[in-house]
Point group: C2
Amino acid sequence: MPTLGEFELIERIARLLPLRGEGVVLGVGDDAAVLAPPRGEQLVATVDEVVEGVHFDRRFTPGDAGWKALAVNLSDLAAMGARPLWGLVALAFPREEPAARVLGVVRGIAACARRFGMTVVGGNVSRAPALSVSITAVGAVAPGAYLTRAGARPGDLLLGSGTFGDASLGLEAGAAPALARRQRRPTPRLALGRALAGIARAGIDVSDGLVQDLGHVAEASGVRAVIEVERLPLSAAYRRRAARLADPHAAALAGGEDYELLLAVPPGRLGAALAAARRARTPLSVLGRFERGAGVRVLSGGHVRPAPVGHDHLRAPTPGFDLGPHASRISRGTIRRPR
Amino acid sequence: MPTLGEFELIERIARLLPLRGEGVVLGVGDDAAVLAPPRGEQLVATVDEVVEGVHFDRRFTPGDAGWKALAVNLSDLAAMGARPLWGLVALAFPREEPAARVLGVVRGIAACARRFGMTVVGGNVSRAPALSVSITAVGAVAPGAYLTRAGARPGDLLLGSGTFGDASLGLEAGAAPALARRQRRPTPRLALGRALAGIARAGIDVSDGLVQDLGHVAEASGVRAVIEVERLPLSAAYRRRAARLADPHAAALAGGEDYELLLAVPPGRLGAALAAARRARTPLSVLGRFERGAGVRVLSGGHVRPAPVGHDHLRAPTPGFDLGPHASRISRGTIRRPR
């Protein structure tokens, strides 16, 4: 396919995106978008980037890559209890990148944006040595109703949505389609996050691995988190694959990229949390609890077992948890406030 | 310098950035930022990306690259008449990138953010084959008071801030320091944009070249823009260099990256515009006018002369305006709404 000029390509990109929606006074098309923030609400904003060869590879269709680039952002909004409003998309790709592939990425972004009710209000295209997508997502939340990593208290229950470990096993060569799909088309738990915002005391989404991300909640809240491996919600496809692994819980504990939510809920609100999850049509399980102390403790048969560590985005894949030479581990880190 | 781990590096990045400011309820440090939009104002949002080897090269210090990455965004806010509030920064760089260089880029972003009163509320670091910085900037404007590219009418005067062409000549080997500085540390015209928002009918910032960006105003407004080359505001350093060029106005007309504002002002408001510019301490000149018709017409001695074309971000540098093999032309395109 011949290379399209910038203006033709940009016009084709814009045609694919949802450009009109709530609060969009002036969308894509001028020097900047003009937005009317929803009255009486606070805004929630986050940025993430995915890069070909780092966060996705040729096993991803262009549409998968675009979907995932937005879904990981929406997952951050979900973890805050926010509903999505607006997205700004920076696309970069090499000169030789076929236009069809770029447009495929945009279609994936558009499909995810439509599915979860987000409008794309700004965009940018650049040359770069590798295809990359950086997205800023903005959502809204009732004032003070957002969830943070801080707030878990000793005695709270540890709840988790969906199932864990599927996405990392989905990177293996010959992975079952159900596992590969979790890796390539993650589902941000937006409905659950909103439903639990008034019930849970703390929340986070799992991008780097259950133990590692739970460690952020434990640290920010000043408590210890305890996981019982027997309680880990595991999919049928995970169980089939994990039965042949030396440590059948390692992927669920440390695999990352599940984009499930972890929540701290007072025991007295468990019923309300489970009812809210049913209304949000999202599975929710008790994985363990919070107690006095620090860090994350993993129990197996009532005994402490070693917790596989999570992922450092700027180093090699986690030692002892290498998914093989073709594994393209998500490598992404949110910039955090210094302690 | 040894490679820092992700968490050490992120902590050092966060220490350098302005993290607290207007409307920041919860800044860098959780899954997403929580923001209180200023009551009664609209928001303005834009995204831009710069990539090493495409938009900047080793002639830029890391601090220059960081400054410019943010300044080009703030220039978009200036063109809308908005004041800056919040920024979200996605940094990507190769494994072998020295931490000192990454931190230098962050220092440049921080310097520009502090200078223009923006708080960094979100960030992300990724691996990538080349150093890149993608920034989303969010600002505020009184409801309906924003400037767009549409709105210029026949009879309006064409005004331009500062001087044109310096930034593109600043790319040449051996460029005068005043020209190189315009290329590496552009000044977003935020004070002028705000001051003119109630006076001008249309506005745009010059990233791709005066003629090309003016063409967007002409198209969006349904008018013709006329520039008189004798009126082009040129710096002393530009004049010295351009005297030795075959076409001494080409760089001012097509060079790009000046990040000056172009504005359409009714003749009856010229005095008000010039007074507002003085209060904003920003030079403002009449470059020409708008009339019935379409496109951009460049007059020299009262006669139409060929207008050098601007830059297509996804193709090679503009034919006939090649700044040499080492020229790293800005290559960036805002995604526009389809016509």
